[in-house]
């Protein structure tokens, strides 16, 4: 618990002024700002009216003072929540210091991370007119000048990847042309880059936010693209071999789980030896997945990544005795033996010649055992991916007729839908809702056909999925010479029962978090634990096992594997930009034949142009893509840490100043003006940015086509004094800032015509009306009458319709190059959210209520809580500073009064 005299929420001009004056009086102040820099809206303005002084020059000294003042502690990128009244009239508050992922003390503000960052998002400090990086310093005058890495959460693709691959990261690196870095980023998770680039079922693409627009990004094929480029240049992983750490680990099984674990451990310096029962390493990658989907050379290239780090692989070396392996000096042993056994058909005749299992069939083909199915008729039983692989392989071996028999409907097939479609396109026939009853004997011990029964869906069983039932009297026969059963796979774990408990289905019972068995040195991962799954899940388990084995050997607690942030909300991603252009989805580029004859890859590689276009569609859901470029670019050791997390501070304060400011009216709520639709209709804030010294384009231009505008119109009272949008109030400063902008535009663009469509010009106060007269004298044209509608011409010019009140009231249309909507003020509801007990009263316009506005400005409904600046209603800069001053006096009086003994 940390103590302060006053908590000031919001470091705009009102909040900074309050904090500095209270600090000068000797109070200890905590100033909390939610953005990465103090300064609020004022620092982003061009000039201030009516003096035309530089806003930045007035703000920066106050900003600098607010972080250097000895009595003021300023926390930026932090949010206050839960202010409650505690004992003795003091307040308790929770301050969340949002993770910046950059060490605020050691960051030098050099901006190298910003230059290296591969993600661009709309720049809120330039009113979304240009993009900024995910790693950014808010603006050149930011105080503190420290970088922030914006992470809205995990991107859905990266979050969902069972293999733990930073999908968003490699996509953003490809977009930046950093192919090798993209490859290395995938290598951080697994050595199987080429394999996953081809054979992965891409759960990432199912989660892609772009999927709700015109279709997901080709995330998997992008991975294949970078793998192809890498393997063209390198034979191995292209990384340095790590120093051995002296520890030895044995891995049994060389499938995706085993290879990934070996890779991860070898990268940490472990001496790893792998044992494979089959004559070739790679498990199902090498021995089951057909070459037209995954060529054997690709698997071998991926395996070469692992062996390049010194991992030994013994093939034809089944492990019988785990204990003696452990005693040979392997400190830990990982079982990753997968599911090599096939489930038998279990019908009469399944022992006949011509009846095979899918796994055995695929393995024989991959090992080149010369199977010829020329002119044969083949029936494949099952609806999973193995069944599809089997059927398509049989077609390639010359089978005259291939039929897939599956007991449920097409939509219930566990096979990936693309696999099923491709299988059908290759001339395979499907028989749904049918199950084998018996294999028919040709009388010489071989198969002559399969008798099947029609199946009807039955009620859902205990497992939740309906178990089909045979329809009585519906039996039929399919004539065939070969029957291949692909109805299930099981692990082969009998030999390990002495060291590790097995489940009834034969899988190993290990801790699902740590993958550790009852014998502490023995771990298990992949399908041997989970039952038949897929490559990505096995890869992820291999990674987890390696992490846990490393920690176990180092004597650390077995945790810290999953460091993902919560997944980002897709609606929030889509709301980030006003509109998305529909893009034509990339062609899948598969070459499918109705009668395939060879095992050439069916999918073509992506061209570089396709890869750029594909990666360029990314919406950067999580903002930061976790590509790691900033970490590499940062010259300070350990300054950037993507594992940082939000921290919550508990503070106790004597009084609170709410200085949360205002929100600007969202001009798209007046659709008749076309804001957000017509590119050359901009808001007053955007014009102020175009005029500011730190302006984005270094000149005034219209966003639609970059033309320098010659005819500029202002529409005053956009969202103010307008019952149709529920705001009857005058926003008080739109007239004046418009007049200011008029003068600045005429100074910058001497040939431009400026016309202002107004209801009344409100210019009260010292030098304000003179300022208005000055603009008129400079040539600005002021036209009374509210604009009814704006339409856009094909060339981007805009037509305004209004009633010309001063000249007879007729309807007039006028054409402009650029229209500026003088948007007004809206209350900021953040203020109320600060007080969870709901006791901060607001007025009928939802601004923070000043309960005794005339006599005691700044006082709210809660004793000890005060409001400063525009949080209590529209105020210009000068009025905000004045109001903050009066609030400061109230706060001081309150704090001093509290000291007086009752």
């Amino acid at each position: 618990m940390t103590d302060y005299d006053v908590l000031v929420v919001g470091a705009g001009i009102g909040g900074m002024e309050s904090a500095l004056k209270l600090g000068d009086m000797g109070y200890r102040v905590l100033l909390v700002e939610k953005e990465a820099s103090v300064g609020g809206k004022m620092i982003l303005l061009s000039k201030v009216f009516p003096t035309l002084d530089c806003a930045s020059c007035i703000s920066t000294p106050k900003m600098a003072a607010s972080i250097h003042h000895p009595n003021v502690t300023t926390l930026t990128y932090s949010e206050v929540g839960g202010i409650t009244r505690g004992s003795a009239g003091r307040f308790q508050a929770k301050v969340t210091r949002k993770a910046r992922f950059v060490n605020e003390t050691t960051c030098t503000g050099c901006q190298l991370c910003e230059t290296a960052c591969t993600v661009a998002v709309p720049d809120q400090f330039n009113a979304d007119m240009i993009q900024r990086r995910a790693a950014y310093i808010a603006f050149p005058q930011a105080v503190p000048k420290k970088a922030v890495i914006e992470r809205a959460g995990s991107s859905p693709c990266s979050y969902t990847c069972p293999a733990g691959i930073q999908a968003h990261g490699y996509v953003s690196l490809i977009r930046s042309g950093e192919y090798e870095k993209a490859f290395q980023l995938v290598l951080d998770a697994t050595p199987l880059v080429g394999t996953l680039g081809r054979a992965c079922y891409a759960p990432c693409e199912l989660e892609c936010t772009r999927g709700s627009i015109e279709g997901p990004l080709p995330i998997r094929r992008l991975k294949r693209f970078i793998a192809d480029i890498h393997y063209d240049k390198f034979d191995g992983p292209g990384i340095e071999i790590p120093e051995p750490n002296g520890h030895k680990v044995a891995i049994v099984g060389t499938g995706p789980a085993g290879l990934t674990a070996a890779w991860q451990l070898a990268r940490k310096g472990y001496g790893v030896k792998m044992f494979e029962a089959a004559p070739k390493a790679g498990g199902f990658l090498r021995l089951a997945i057909p070459a037209y989907r995954l060529p054997s050379e690709i698997v071998e290239q991926d395996i070469a990544n692992v062996t390049a780090l010194g991992v030994e692989i013994a093939t034809s070396a089944p492990v019988q005795d785990l204990d003696s392996l452990h005693e040979e000096g392997y400190e830990a042993v990982l079982l990753a033996t997968g599911t090599p056994l096939s489930t038998k058909l279990g019908v009469p005749g399944d022992e006949l010649d011509g009846v095979l299992s899918g796994v055995a069939f695929l393995r024989a083909v991959k090992l080149g055992e010369g199977i010829d199915l020329a002119d044969q008729r083949v029936v494949v039983i099952g609806g999973g991916n193995v069944a599809m692989d089997t059927a398509r392989t049989a077609r390639r071996l010359g089978a005259r007729e291939v039929t897939v028999v599956y007991r449920r409907t097409r939509s219930e097939m566990p096979a990936h839908h693309v696999e099923a479609d491709d299988t059908e396109k290759e001339g395979v026939r499907f028989v749904f809702q049918a199950a084998p009853v018996a294999v028919l004997d040709d009388g010489r011990g071989a198969t002559r056909g399969l008798r099947c029964s029609r199946m009807a869906p039955a009620k859902a069983g205990a497992s939740g999925r309906s178990r089909p039932e045979p329809v009585p009297g519906s039996e039929f026969e399919i004539a065939c010479e070969v029957i291949i059963g692909a109805i299930g796979m099981a692990p082969d774990t009998d030999g390990f029962s002495a060291q590790v408990r097995t489940n009834p289905n034969g899988t190993l019972a290990v801790d699902p978090e740590t993958l550790q068995s009852g014998s502490a040195w023995l771990f298990a991962a992949g399908d041997v634990v989970s039952g038949a799954s897929d490559i990505t899940r096995a890869t992820g388990q291999g990674q987890r096992a390696a992490h846990m084995i490393d920690r176990w050997i180092r004597g650390l607690q077995l945790d810290g594997f999953d460091l993902r942030l919560p997944v980002v909300d897709k609606d929030q991603v889509l709301a980030r930009q006003k509109a998305y252009r529909l893009a034509v989805p990339l062609d899948p580029s598969e070459v499918l034949s109705a009668a395939p004859t060879d095992f050439r890859e069916v999918e073509l590689p992506m061209t570089e142009a396709e890869a750029h276009r594909g990666a360029g569609l990314c919406l950067d859901c999580g903002v930061c893509s976790e590509c790691g470029e900033c970490v590499d670019a940062c010259p300070v050791d350990d300054c950037i840490d993507l594992r940082a997390r939000d921290q919550v501070l508990d503070v106790e304060v004597g009084a609170v100043v709410v200085a949360t400011g205002f929100k600007l009216f969202a001009a798209d709520l007046k659709p008749e003006y076309g804001y957000g639709t017509f590119k050359n209709v901009i808001s007053g804030t955007q014009m102020d940015r175009l005029l500011a010294p730190t302006r984005p384009f270094n000149t005034i231009l219209r966003p639609g086509d970059g033309k320098v505008p010659e005819r500029i119109a202002y529409v005053l009272c956009t969202g103010s004094r307008d019952e149709t949008v529920g705001n009857p109030l005058c926003s008080r400063f739109c007239c004046m800032y418009s007049i200011k902008q008029n003068q600045l535009i005429m100074g910058a663009l001497p040939i431009a015509d400026v016309t202002v469509h107004y209801m009344d010009i409100r210019a009260p106060g010292k030098r304000y009306d003179e300022f208005y007269e000055q603009a008129k004298a400079m040539g600005a044209n002021y036209v009374k009458g509210r604009v009814a509608r704006i339409t856009e011409k094909e060339n981007g010019d805009l037509v305004l319709r209004y009633e010309d009140i001063e000249h007879g009231g007729g309807l007039v249309e006028a054409e402009y190059d650029l229209v500026v909507l003088a948007v007004g003020v809206q209350p900021n509801s953040d203020a109320q959210a600060l007080f969870p007990e709901g006791d901060l009263a607001v007025d009928e316009f939802r601004y923070v209520a000043e309960t005794d506005e005339d006599a005691n400005p700044g006082q709210t409904s809660i004793p000890g809580v005060y409001v400063a600046g525009a949080a209590s209603g529209a105020k210009d800069i000068a009025d905000s500073i004045l109001h903050a001053g009066s609030t400061v006096a109230q706060v001081a009086a309150y704090l001093e009064h509290a000291k007086v003994p009752a």
Binding site: S56, C57, T60, A64, A692, N698
Partner: protein
């Protein structure tokens, strides 16, 4: 005090580009100078900027050291009256400039090799103008006694 990295001997064939050391301040003049760069404004490649918290922290001996280390001039981009630390920052800074100029003179260097101007946080254009004019003045003065 550490010695400055050796400055490469000027190429006699090329036009003389005076080397200018600029002292800026973290919060006020540095953002202004930074803005000149990020707005793609042009200023001499001979300008090197060192940022520090407050102008009044400069030691007169540093300026002599810079000139003797091979810089042709030193430009102090001061906070003016906008210093966040000291209300009398300008007064102190002008005292430092007077002392430094005296040191330069004692060391046989022209006091015109030191110049100071207030640069605000968006004073990109004034900054480029100042260093350009200063560069011209230094070109007329010629190389510093040490460098030539």
């Amino acid at each position: 005090m550490t010695t400055l990295a050796p400055v490469k001997p000027p190429d006699q064939e090329r036009a003389f580009v005076p080397r200018i050391l600029v002292f800026s301040t973290n919060n006020i003049s540095d953002p202004g100078i930074d803005l000149a760069g990020s707005s793609h404004m042009t200023y001499s490649p001979g300008v090197v900027v060192i940022s520090m918290p407050c102008t009044s922290g400069i030691r007169p001996s540093w300026i002599l050291h810079a000139i003797e280390g091979g810089f042709d001039g030193v430009f102090i981009a001061s906070d003016g009256d906008e210093c966040a630390y000291l209300s009398d920052c300008s007064t102190r800074a002008s005292r430092i400039v007077a002392q430094a100029q005296a040191l330069l003179q004692q060391g046989g260097h022209q006091p015109q090799r030191l110049k100071m101007a207030a640069i605000c946080s968006v004073c990109a254009e004034p900054f480029t103008r100042h260093v350009q004019q200063f560069g011209q003045a230094l070109a007329e003065l010629g190389r510093s006694a040490v460098a030539s």
